[in-house]
Subunit: 280 residues, 2 copies
């Protein structure tokens, strides 16, 4: 599979790249950011996936996430995919809302027309992009971790819960913990999947835990001053689900922090260290 | 003097704020970013000034500079002013070019109409904003350092050389080292000051060194892959001026780095540590 290099810039001793390729999953071009730290010739590095939140592209965390210093120190690759297919023929929210359609793919394979044609971010993250990264970068795909923020925290948790053998480490910043039980999630899952809530369960971290899926371990940071906490993120449901099934998890409420990259970047180095410990 | 809080967000244990005030220097409202790390009640912290480059506002380094972790660890305040006056009645480059007028104040007090009315960034940085910061934040103004990037590196060097007693530490990323001898500088200095090159000398780091000004010490990082190096930045003239007058300076050419925040952020923590060593 071919990829096109849009930019490669030296940073923190490594290379921050942005790449584009024609995706078979989404039927569109897709863009992703990937940082490769300085490494020995022939050396293969662990990979941390970062799934972004609503309205984001690959660029938000690349510019504001402050991950490169820690990735350089820990010698791990950091990959940041886009959050949805994009293009003139990709259907968007009928009202142009920020929480559905473009920038809001919710990491599902859509089942409802017209979204089912392009909105296949699950297959893209689970199959297509890993194969591409294995082919083009010095990545040791036996050592993968995954993290994400908000909608991307939901993505990280659900991708990992459905295939826990793929990931040695999983963490999240302010994840949408129970999409079936919040307005953002209900809108997205009904819009992409339809009204049969049974089909939603594989896209809901709490439901997956209830249904017997589990992770080796889990780290979550959640700001207490996050405006979305009560209505949309519902960290308390994730804590309850973990407690209920005995899922090992460190879920930390962080006083004073909001939902922004000022919050994410504050804990990014610690998350990367936590992943690196499990990827070595 | 009153300031208005536009935003305050918790980050890295401290507070990243954005503030606005009516400036007497520029005759406009001015906006600046300021980070205060976690500190003891009543404690006064050293202050590092960061002057930004062409096209920037206070926001670029705030979003991409990756300074907060180091400032939190070193307990120093970080202040990022805007790069020019702004507003409907502020004259801009007649052709709307990026290198003069809005976003390109060059840290001078302009002498030519129509720019002399608002373009007084020198007075703003030297007098007005320090007084405001002393009044409103837990800043120990006896312990100030200054750094900057590109046009802001020029600003940091020239502000510090003209009043070296104010700053205990000075550094720059890819500064415009000799504005009198490069197209950006010649356009700006003639446009703001007029054609008498004698008046330019106090806005040219190399000329100030030749004229007997000096600093306790100086740290400069310059990317070798910086597209502006040869024509605009001319690091070799700064090295020669330092050598010629015996100015203590560490001027490092960094292989592979460009002119962007991917370069700046790579060396930011090291610069902040260098300042903190001299501010304690």
């Amino acid at each position: 599979m071919r990829i096109e290099t849009l930019s490669e810039v030296k940073s923190h001793g490594g290379v921050q790249g942005v790449y584009r390729h024609a995706s078979t999953s989404t039927g569109t071009d897709m863009t992703f950011a990937l940082f490769v730290p300085l490494h020995e010739p022939g050396e293969k590095l662990p990979v941390i996936w970062y799934l972004s939140g609503l309205t984001c592209t690959h660029a938000n965390v690349m510019e504001k996430g402050e991950y490169r210093a820690a990735c350089a120190a820990q010698r791990v690759i950091f990959v940041a995919p886009d959050t949805s297919p994009r293009g003139d023929d990709v259907p968007d929210d009928p009202d142009g809302a920020y929480d559905f359609g473009l920038g809001a793919g919710f990491y599902v394979d859509a089942m409802r027309p017209p979204f089912d044609r392009h909105y296949n971010m699950r297959s893209y993250i689970e199959k297509e992009l890993p194969a591409l990264i294995k082919e083009h970068f010095p990545a040791d795909m036996a050592r993968q971790g995954i993290m994400g923020h908000s909608m991307g925290g939901h993505g990280a948790l659900t991708v990992a819960l459905r295939d826990s053998s793929r990931f040695k480490s999983v963490s999240a910043f302010a994840p949408i913990a129970a999409p079936s039980q919040c307005p953002w999630g209900e809108k997205a899952l009904s819009g992409y999947l339809g009204d049969d809530r049974k089909a939603w369960r594989e896209y809901d971290a709490c439901a997956l835990l209830e249904d017997g899926m589990c992770l080796p371990d889990l780290l979550v940071d959640q700001g207490e001053a996050d405006n979305f906490l009560e209505e949309q993120l519902r960290t308390e449901l994730l804590q309850a689900a973990c407690d209920s099934v005995g899922q090992k998890a460190t879920i930390r409420m962080q006083a004073g922090y909001d939902h922004s990259y000022y919050f994410i970047s504050s804990f990014m180095a610690e998350h990367i260290g936590w992943h690196a410990d499990r990827l070595k």
